[in-house]
């Protein structure tokens, strides 16, 4: 997408991140609906070729391989967005130098471009890894026994919360280990490009059959990850006349969802700024570890996180309401749990990593010499943070905020368990319909989730498009400190 230009490539740059807007559980529900033995595809095949042939070779959609493929298509934009930013931002003079030294295109890609983008791809891949690990809705629906599902079983059927905690800890340990390995590797390899080059790497024009192949390959993820699920939802909405039946209730749920997501996003961004700047100004181990630990909430399956949160949150809440009682003499109920504040807290814990990663990546792109110059000129740490580093972070703030926002809108498990009475978000509406066994009734809410995510993602792409080639301003680029 960055090295070549072919018919449709500009549009595709906009479309490729879109699968991010579709929650994984929605994609799973849709594909089971379509590809199941009773679904339209297999029924059609059966009519065409007869039962024996059609059923013999058709892969089972509720299986581990299908689950992997599905996750790949839904989550690949994390890698795509990060890698593309890195390819766009790389210094074209390096490529030019390699080319003059006689490097062939394949070599150029494998030996030069790919290693340069490795940190960015790793950041994206880590997000994919964590998202897959914390999933429960889609995996359970597809009948895949993951560690997360095992933890569930121990907890629900065997009333063995300790056992569940053990299994969850194993999962967490695996993640922590992978993250540490990834980070150690990155420490050893520092990639510096000259950030202020004016040269532009011109993409190569593709024509004819090669352009066709490129178009097909690049369009496939969009079709599978976005067009089919969103199309299916839209079709159900029209077919069941859900739009006509939708009342003010759904609009209310939409606002609730947006309120909560905005509040959580604001907290995540402010807090990420503090953590990232602290690690920059005092690059101690402690500062980096704080960032690392703060981000771990992303790897924990939502429901398990919530079970762990019940104790501390309610403890805090009880203390608050006692204080209120002392101060006013009135009897008070739980304030945080009753107000939705717990939801904001849970979102912040879950999605902190998204904010930290995006912001630290931005900061890592500015050479440390800038800080040194400021310090030499007499700037104290506070002034350095306020006058130098905060403005440097600005380009990444929007992108980071949007990623967090989209994640909050899709959030389900914490919302289900921590919400106040009568509170519904779009995700819980979809969940409720699916629980009643009529997922299609929730199609409109699901579609609204997708649409709500579309705006932010399009904005993100646009921000990336504005980035000059060879420049350094990309929201999810190549060197993250955490």
């Amino acid at each position: 997408m960055t090295a070549f230009r072919f018919p449709g490539s500009r549009v595709l740059a906009w479309l490729l991140p879109l699968p991010l807007a579709v929650p994984t559980y929605v994609t799973a529900l849709v594909y089971v609906e379509i590809l199941d033995a009773a679904g339209p595809v297999r029924s059609g095949l059966r009519n065409a070729f007869g039962r024996g042939i059609a059923d013999a070779w058709f892969p089972e959609v509720r299986s581990l391989p299908a689950c992997i493929v599905l996750f790949a298509f839904v989550l690949f934009p994390y890698v795509f967005v990060a890698a593309r930013a890195a390819f766009l931002a790389r210094d074209p003079s390096i490529m030019a130098a390699a080319r003059t030294l006689g490097s062939r295109p394949v070599h150029l890609f494998l030996r030069v471009a790919l290693p340069l983008a490795r940190p960015a791809i790793a950041v994206g891949a880590t997000l994919v890894l964590l998202e897959s690990l914390n999933d429960i809705g889609a995996t359970e629906y597809l009948g895949v026994r993951t560690l997360t599902v095992s933890a569930y079983t121990a907890w629900l059927n065997q009333s063995d919360l300790a056992g569940a905690a053990q299994i969850a800890s194993i999962a967490l340990l695996v993640v922590a280990l992978l993250l540490v390995v990834e980070e150690l590797q990155r420490d050893r390899s520092q990639y510096h490009g000259s950030a202020n080059t004016t040269a532009r790497g011109e993409p190569v024009e593709l024509r004819g059959i090669r352009a066709g192949i490129a178009l097909l390959l690049c369009a496939l993820p969009v079709i599978i990850g976005f067009v089919v699920p969103a199309g299916f939802l839209a079709l159900e909405v029209v077919r069941r006349e859900l739009l006509e039946a939708a009342g003010p209730a759904l609009i209310g749920h939409l606002w609730t969802t947006v309120f909560l997501a905005l509040a959580a996003t604001a907290v995540v961004i402010l807090w990420s700024i503090a953590i990232v700047l602290a690690a920059r100004i005092r690059p101690t181990r402690l500062a980096r570890r704080i960032g690392f630990v703060a981000g771990l909430g992303y790897a924990v399956p939502g429901t398990i996180l919530v079970l762990g949160l019940f104790g501390p949150l309610v403890g805090l809440d009880t203390a608050l309401s006692r204080a209120w009682e002392l101060a006013t003499g009135e009897k008070a109920r739980l304030i945080l749990m009753g107000s939705g504040a717990t939801l904001v807290i849970a979102y912040v814990i879950r999605f902190m990593r998204v904010g930290i990663v995006a912001l630290s990546a931005q900061l890592a792109q500015t050479p440390p010499e800038i800080d040194q110059v400021a310090r030499v000129l007499g700037a104290r740490p506070a002034a350095l943070a306020w006058h130098v580093q905060l403005p440097l972070l600005r380009p990444a703030l929007g992108g980071a905020a949007l990623l967090v926002f989209v994640d909050c809108i899709k959030e389900l498990p914490a919302t289900l368990l921590l919400r106040p009475l009568n509170l519904e978000t779009l995700a819980t509406v979809v969940y409720g319909a699916a629980s009643r066994g009529s997922f299609e009734d929730g199609a409109l809410a699901a579609l609204v989730i997708v649409l709500a995510g579309l705006g932010p993602i399009a904005w993100l792409t646009q921000a990336m498009e504005r980035t000059p080639r060879g420049g350094a301003r990309a929201p999810l680029p190549d060197q993250a400190a955490f």
Partner: protein, 341 residues
């Protein structure tokens, strides 16, 4: 910059709105439900109409009993409504339930469908049936044990055996036959599976309709919901199957319940008990029977005609409390034989 400043403003506004609705008002009852409230919203609406008491609810399939336990004495929850005897037992184990002191409930619900100490009561009953293909299976009387018969090799479908409905069935099998025979039974059923356990009970009907398998486990009421719902595809699945009320060898049909507990720290205890009394009243029981296709627990309330067509239900007399106690072992056995793998 503007985005998050605006965000903050909207958020504080939102928080203020939410706080405004969270106080304790007279004439309310707060329900935590593991059952999708849409399934019995008609009953709740009728209750509000009859009593003027407003029903507030949150729904999640799991974790709500833990939440009540964590919230402790300040929990807003008055009532926990749940399905499956294991879940009711879990509420007792977590110590969130208080005795339901009501003559009305005691006289409406048979003793074997209530906690001996009065901490839970059943609200409705369902049978674990076997859906069979109308085309390919002629049997009209089946036992749960027969699902392990090698003649069904490659012909059986089921949802995960770690799902509470199947855990309860396995637990009932333990109560009936002991652990060893239950384990052999699980292995036998597993050997007969046409596909990996997945989906829900409706998917069993769906798979039978699609020819993936010939028979499988499913709750009784799903047949009614599928056959009489507004989803055209599900009507076809229901039309392809015939529910058989199976029995244990030397026993009768395995039943499970939906039920309710009143919480220990219920702020609206009187209203909570009124709600449960209403849900066991003849009117509400008739709604459970006719709208949800469940078996009413109150004597004298007729079974829906569609459900009656499955045959006369004869629930196994074993104590549901014993089943609840065996469920941990049942779940472990399911893991030991690797049923879901």
């Amino acid at each position: 910059m503007r985005t998050y400043r605006e965000g903050l403003r909207l958020a504080s506004l939102g928080a203020a709105l939410l706080v405004g609705t969270s106080g304790v008002l007279a004439g309310e009852v707060n329900v935590y439900t593991n059952r999708e409230p849409g399934l019995y919203s008609a009953t709740l609406d009728e209750f509000t109409k009859a009593t003027g008491i407003k029903v507030n609810a949150i729904f999640s399939e799991q974790g709500l009993a833990e939440r009540i336990a964590a919230e402790g004495e300040k929990s807003p929850a008055d009532v926990l409504i749940t399905v499956d005897i294991g879940r009711l037992q879990q509420a007792l184990d977590l110590g969130v339930a208080a005795p339901i002191r009501s003559e009305v409930v005691a006289s409406a619900v048979p003793a074997n469908l209530r906690d001996p100490e009065g901490r839970w009561t059943a609200l409705s009953m369902r049978a674990r049936t076997i859906y069979v293909s109308k085309e390919r299976v002629q049997d009209t009387a089946l036992t749960y044990e027969s699902l392990a018969d090698p003649k069904w090799k490659g012909k059986v479908c089921t949802r995960s055996f770690q799902h509470p409905y199947n855990v309860a069935l396995t637990a009932a099998m333990i109560v009936k036959k002991g652990e060893e025979k239950t384990k052999a039974w699980l292995e036998g059923v597993k050997a007969n599976l046409a596909k990996k356990p997945s989906g829900g009970d409706r998917d069993v009907a769906k798979d039978i309709a699609a020819g993936v398998c010939d028979l499988g486990l499913g709750n009784s009421y799903y047949v009614g919901l599928m056959a009489n719902g507004k989803n055209e595809e599900q009507k076809k699945w229901a039309a392809a199957i015939r529910p058989v009320l199976p029995t244990f060898e030397g026993g009768a049909t395995h039943v499970n319940v939906s039920g309710a507990v009143v919480t220990k720290h219920a702020p609206n205890r009187d209203n909570a008990i009124k709600l449960i009394e209403y849900m066991t009243s003849p009117d509400a029981q008739q709604v459970f029977a006719d709208v949800n296709y469940e078996y009413p627990i109150r004597a004298g309330v007729p079974v829906n005609a569609f459900v009656a067509s499955f045959g006369a239900l004869k629930p196994d007399p074993m104590s549901l409390a014993d089943v609840a106690k065996a469920r941990k072992r049942a779940s472990e056995l399911v893991d030991e034989v690797g049923f879901d793998r």
